[in-house]
Amino acid sequence: MTALAAKRALAGGAAPPLLAVEDLTLDFRTRQGAVHALDGVSLDVSRGEIVGVVGESGSGKSVLAYAIMGLTDAAGHVRSGRIAFAGRDMLGEDPAQLSDTLGREISMIFQSPRTALNPIRRVGLQIADVLLRHGNMSRREARARAVEALARVRVPDPERRFDAYPFELSGGLCQRVMIAMAIACAPFLLIADEPTTGLDVTTQAVVMDLIRDQVRAANTAVLLITHDLALAGEYCDRIVVMHAGHVVEVAPAPRLLQQPAHPYAALLIGATPGATTRVDDLTAIPGGLPDLRQALPPCRFLNRCARSDARCGAEPLPTRRMGDGHLVRCWNPL
């Protein structure tokens, strides 16, 4: 890949998407056998776009995020597929190349910001570490840039907060520090893994608004990993629904919320509290995720689904087009 091609890839337009995951299959080797965590997962993210990945715990959302970052646990093993970022093959990069990309072109916001920050290092220094790693600058300059980054995420009194330790800050402030760290080098892609988990509701909105404002201003693309469909609906352009390591549905956010095609997506919406639903109206999704260590039927939602028939357990899932940018993998879509 030449520099020119990379540039063209980043320019958007008719060029390929910024991030393209194609047919990714990933297993974890455990003592009880292989866990089929991801199976044939495909998704893409274009420049400036906010894409939500939604599913219950264990659906493979975070595994996907870590795979894109090259941070998969040592037991993880990519069986097939491709991850292309700005036209580069991320799975083929050596660790040195990858670490040049991470933090600079792709960065990540983690859940539970208190534990995701180094507890015994001043938060400003942690931001400065990233700046020093990727930018050619002096320590003094890095400090000034880190204070700027804190100010940009609206941390009050950033000059003083530079010297704070994470335990001296609230959860919301810690998450702002994480965001400041993630966007310090102006990345092209930001992966946010449950960025609001563990924060109270008002802080959640503040943090999400902050992420949206920052990325819109810089034309950064976002992959938002969340189990909260309402949150995804509010902040994302497109939503990808995952279940048990499969992508089951992809649609523009408003369309998915109004006309879900996959039975699982519909059930997820029914289980999501919103402004118009009362808690009593919420319905739980029956059953649990299948055991990913076993041999699995083509449709992994089979045993929880009211619409399943003989084909679901026998034939490979079809990908059906339900409308503009709306794809579903199901024999009996709604």
Binding site: L102, T115, R121, V130, Y165
Partner: protein, 340 residues
């Protein structure tokens, strides 16, 4: 809260424990078998002279009266006179303590220099051959009793290979003179005075006892280094550091190792106490003129005054050591600083 204030607070907090130690050592040393008066009076004494000696030593008074005069003397810095050496116990101990401390410090330094890199290697290559190898070596090193290792080392390096000097104390006084006393640590004093031949002499005398003591400290240090580094490497903040593209070295040193240091420091404090205790055996084997050998002799000869002094000194040392460990943890971890 600043360090000096915390240190002062911890020192004050140590006073009750010290008072407890005074009471317990007094009672314990009076529970020692053997009658010091008989021993002191000598083999030719009759009942009369023994009684005389007993009165002279104050042993005929009630336990409470003895205790009060003991505490009173101690308040004046008088730990009593040794029944065997005839010297003030405090002077004996002060003269011998540097030898023990130097040996212990050298043993710990040796153990840290070997065990910490081993632990780091094992943690960064978990499950590899290096990991298993260092675990088994360290376990074997710890499995043998210290005095046995000491004798074995003397046998191999002094008797068979003839590369170690005679195991007779801190310095061979046929060839060397003790360096001018400054700290009482021969290595430091010799280095300060620039007497490098003396330094080498003292170092070669110290090598075998320090290694035998240190071998026994390898296992706990290596294990805790490995375990706490593994915890740190598996933590969320190390994952964050990797996700930010920080270099391997930066992630390992600044992020993982600094966080792993705290448990290691705590264990070092404990290990230091153990090694100080193990000195008692090693000093005997190597003719080391330290407090350990002194204490063994005092116990055998029913010299309860010296035993009291020794125990009191060791307890004080342990308390100071704990204080030092506390201060180190505070320096290493800002969270501890907040708790005060």
């Amino acid at each position: 809260m600043n360090l000096a204030r915390i240190a002062a607070k911890r020192l004050l907090g140590a006073i009750p424990s010290l008072m407890g130690v005074v009471v317990v050592t007094f009672l314990l040393s009076h529970a020692l078998p053997g009658d010091p008066a008989v021993l002191f009076a000598g083999p030719a004494a009759n009942a009369d002279s023994v009684a005389q000696v007993r009165a002279h030593l104050g042993l005929d008074r009630s336990l409470l009266a003895q205790f009060l005069s003991y505490v009173g003397d101690m308040a004046h810095g008088n730990l009593g006179q040794s029944l065997t050496t005839g010297q003030p116990v405090l002077a004996d101990l002060v003269q011998r303590l540097p030898a023990s401390l130097e040996l212990t410090a050298a043993a710990i330094l040796f153990a840290v220099a070997v065990a910490v890199p081993l632990g780091v290697l094992a943690a960064t290559r978990e499950g590899s051959l290096a990991d298993h190898l260092c675990r088994s070596t360290v376990t074997v090193a710890a499995a043998f009793p210290t005095f046995f290792v000491a004798l074995l080392l003397v046998y191999v390096f002094y008797y068979l290979l003839r590369i170690a000097p005679e195991p007779l104390g801190r310095l061979n006084d046929v060839y060397f003179e003790a360096p001018p006393a400054l700290t009482g640590f021969y290595l430091i004093d010799a280095a300060v005075a620039g007497e490098w031949t003396t330094f080498r002499g003292a170092l070669s005398q110290m090598a075998l006892p320090a290694v035998s003591l240190g071998l026994f400290a390898l296992a706990p240090i290596a294990r805790i280094t490995r375990a706490s580094l593994l915890t740190a490497l598996g933590s969320d903040f190390v994952r964050t550091a990797r996700a930010c593209g920080l270099t391997r070295r930066k992630v390992l040193v600044t992020y993982a190792m600094r966080n792993a240091a705290l448990p290691v420091v705590n264990v070092l404090g404990m290990v230091f106490s153990f090694v100080l205790g193990a000195n008692v055996l090693i000093e005997d084997v190597f003719g080391w003129p330290g407090v350990g050998a002194y204490a063994v002799k005092a116990v055998i000869q029913s010299d309860y005054v010296a035993v009291q002094g020794f125990i009191l000194m060791m307890a004080t040392l342990y308390i100071l050591l704990n204080l030092l460990v506390d201060l180190l943890s505070i320096a290493a971890d800002p969270r501890v600083r907040m708790e005060g």
